[in-house]
Amino acid sequence: MSNKEEITLTIDGKQVSVEKGTTILEAAKKVNIDIPTLCFLKEINEAGDCRMCVVEVEGRRGFATSCIQKAEEGMVVKTNTPNVIEARKMVLDLTLSNHERDCLTCSRNGNCELQDLCIKYHVQNVEYEGERTEHEIDDASPSIVRNFNKCILCRRCISTCKKVQEIGAIDCAGRGFESSVSTTYNDSLKDVDCTFCGQCILSCPTGALQEKESIEDVWKKLRDPETYVIVQTAPAVRVALGEEFGMPIGTNVKGKMVTALKELGFDKVFDTNTGADLTIMEEANEFIERLQNGGTLPMITSCSPGWVRFAEKNYGELLGHLSSCKSPHQMFGAILKSYFAEKYRIDRNKICTVSVMPCIAKKYECSRPEMEVDGVRDVDYVITTRELAKMIKQANIEFTELEDNDFEDPMGEASGAGAIFGTTGGVMEAAIRTAVDTLENKSIDKIEYKEVRGEKGIKEATLNVAGKEIKIAVASGLANARKIMEQIKENKSPYHFVEIMACPGGCVVGGGQPIKSSKTRSAVDVRKLRADSIYAIDEKSKIRKSHENPFIKKLYDEYLEKPGSHLSHKYLHTKYNAKAKYDI
């Protein structure tokens, strides 16, 4: 029972009771009235700018803005009067009149909120044609392409960057018709404070923002008989890919995904979860080393390239806190081109490694100069979950009908610890599972650390391990990362070990994942559905600790010797460099 005040109002003749403080839009949803919105993104962009959601309220002059304005006791709302419909149609008409309308060839064709509304309102032609604003396309960064000829100035991306991530790499510039979403001096994203987290892409209702695609490059490699193309997929991809084929949010499609990848022609299909297990071995070892030998603490995870770029641009003096471990797919890529190549006698120069990631910062990460060994790139291409879905569609594969298959041996084995890397708190939990066993020198029964799970921006826990108190924290989203870093800067950080992921909620809602409409995001918790699915994978796994993964054991026995060894450092660790926030 809620102790909040209830109010009753009438919407389109239907009575509805809601808690005081509910918006008209939400109240309408309760009686199955779907008021259209465009600039609205729940809790992120509630500005009322686009004017799609306007409604009439009896006794009030002018329209009410239903996405922001609160329902009031006795209010009589009409959401679909001729006046309202005419205004909405005009808004759509005007929006289209300044929009690049190459819809059929747009990356968002079929998943565009503007398109949906035009279908809904049966917009057949554009009445008010006129001058259009012209914007140069920014495709200079390795991660994001901005085509603001498709921007409708809803500013959802700005709010996401500024309010959620607290970066503010983009903002509104200019005035009136000349307004645009812009970086400073409209410089390329690669030269400003953008971290390539890609959350802006997820919030864009049209095709103004998208990842820099590598689909064609990957096709080319797949068609080349000389190239041995190996693919690996991140833990978060399997719980989201199905959505691109109409399956429920969070469906685990691992089996179908593996089959599809094989059908696409990849020579080997491996699991980044295995790479994650390897990361845990190295990272847990590094943490214990630091803990026991007075190293820099807290140690902070380094799997999230958006976070790493953020740290390099904002906290150059604190980079010693970052674990020197490469991220799982980079480690795995390096192993594929060394251990695997040697073992299976494949010329490593002929191996092409492709990573399917829920992330667009990974595209930048794989292009970093540090990410190679002896002139051989760890990972050649990163494609997003969305790009993989496109490739599957292009290959005429009826995805939903595919049978299940398993990742390939010998490197396909992974623990449940590797699986949970895909969500906030997962890396920490996996690392703790291994670190605790190592420190206690025995296998501890406790496997699940629920205190680091869930949606909270910063989660904390204190563990008692081998008679020692270890304070840990998990932060997701760059606004929370900043809080952790400011604490460290002021010498007030109580933690020993911190996990940071750039995207709020972790990789399951990474910038490369399927894009959900504002309406879906209002209705369901996308992050939770996908994360639950990941935790279910862990729960069902026979092996739930990275150090118990037999392949990992074998890899150390046969090749790397032990975590932190000379070879480990050569292939699995990296360095960071302070970067100018603005290269302008």
Binding site: G174, R175, S182, T184, Y185, V192
Partner: protein, 160 residues
């Protein structure tokens, strides 16, 4: 090298301006007004310093600069000709005055001649409605303007 020196000077001068204001984000427009006043535009180096001092992203500062018409991103000409397009002047034919200035200098509103000598602004009411139509060259006001007067005035400054 010389450029770097200029940058350093601008940064230091901007810091001096900043120190006259409380370190609050709401001071941004006041600070920008001072910087605009000092340089006749808002140099990028100033913006970088302001961004650091007020812990504000560069894009936000850029957004504010480009919103307010008083702020400019590039220096104006040595002689800035501002034609008043307030209603009183408009009704008395200021469009013709502006057209003539543009034609005479071969540049548009907001531009500067290649030699850096002249720039044109179209302003809103400058308050000399009794003298409409009015244009100014820097601080000098020319009232009851005619097309011929534009020619004469521009020629005068061309010789200066």
């Amino acid at each position: 090298m010389e450029e770097k020196c200029v940058d350093k000077k601008v940064r230091e001068e901007t810091k001096e301006i900043l120190e006259k204001h409380p370190r609050e984000k709401d001071q941004l427009i006041m600070v920008l007004n001072d910087v605009q006043e000092k340089y006749g535009y808002i140099p990028k180096q100033s913006q970088l310093v302001i961004s650091e001092y007020l812990s504000m992203p560069m894009a936000e500062i850029y957004g504010v600069i480009t919103f307010y018409s008083r702020f400019t991103l590039s220096p104006k000409g040595k002689y800035n000709i501002a034609v008043c397009l307030g209603t009183a002047c408009f009704v008395k034919g200021s469009e013709k005055i502006l057209d003539r200035v543009k034609q005479k200098l071969g540049i548009d509103v907001g531009q500067t001649t290649p030699d850096g000598k002249f720039s044109i602004d179209a302003t809103r009411c400058i308050g000399a409605c009794g003298l409409a139509p009015v244009f100014t060259v820097n601080d000098e006001v020319y009232g009851k303007a005619t097309v011929q007067m534009v020619d004469e005035v521009i020629e005068k400054y061309q010789k200066m």
